[in-house]
Assembly symmetry: D2
Homo-oligomer: 87 residues x 4
């Protein structure tokens, strides 16, 4: 992974971490269930996008290494896709 791409992923995760800390405060200050669940859905969505970015990065890596296109790489990528559709 290139340094700038790694940093971009870490930055996104730090923002997600901040969103989870925001959720803790919302629970502590007894904000409404509706507000908390809206923020929770946004946090889960942000994490899903990190997963999609990692998958995209992985597709490009296979490509750069010339590995992409063989049977093993298709199965590895499909394993990642299945992981993303969970959770």
């Amino acid at each position: 992974m290139e340094a700038n791409e790694k940093q971009a992923l870490v930055n996104r995760l730090r923002r997600a971490e901040g969103q989870v800390r925001g959720l803790e405060q919302m629970v502590e200050t007894e904000r409404s269930a509706k507000e908390i669940l809206t923020q929770l859905a946004a946090t889960r969505e942000a994490l899903k996008k990190v997963g999609l970015a990692i998958l995209e990065e992985e597709m490009r890596n296979f490509e750069a290494a010339g590995e992409k296109g063989d049977q093993a790489s298709v199965e590895a990528l499909m394993g990642l896709v299945r992981q993303i559709t969970k959770g």
Copy 2:
């Protein structure tokens, strides 16, 4: 919300926050995409369970307040359910 229930939710969110910090380290130390996406799915699942716990708490609140059962409470609860099925 009772104090012990609030604390239980905050504790769960702190564990989820720790999971996100774990993800940051996994990216920084270049763990495999498969490992990262497995941990990411677990984190998203943990957050979804927090959402379900908040919904359950809300159902009990309506009950305790004797509000549950009227048209407005059904619609409010359905709004929360829709929020949980997103994200």
Copy 3:
């Protein structure tokens, strides 16, 4: 369940059945993966909405029967919500 609500659910399911038949034709006539997956997401979304309508109906039933609000009904409803967030 009232007769008109039952009919509304059956009608929605018939439309979803028609969407699945449409998917069969799209595969047979080799439409693009993008078009097929767009239609498939719409079909899955339509089925999810049927699930939400059944849950809402169930909340109103508990209410009408005066059962809503007790511990057992909260747990039964939460079981349905968990089922909807799967699949």
Copy 4:
């Protein structure tokens, strides 16, 4: 798409169509919400698996055509993945 792969996808969709018809009967005969939602989750899961099979097929097609690995193919595949994570 090869003829046998196309047939396998159509067969899966026919089974999903049968599952939706089963849901119509379950609603008509007033089976419990729990039973209906369990069958509904299974149907949605079956459709998701059809989507994953189409994506996998598409990855192999890019490969066979030697297109896989360029920027455009990564973006096209990611578009399909996003579609699958919806709905």
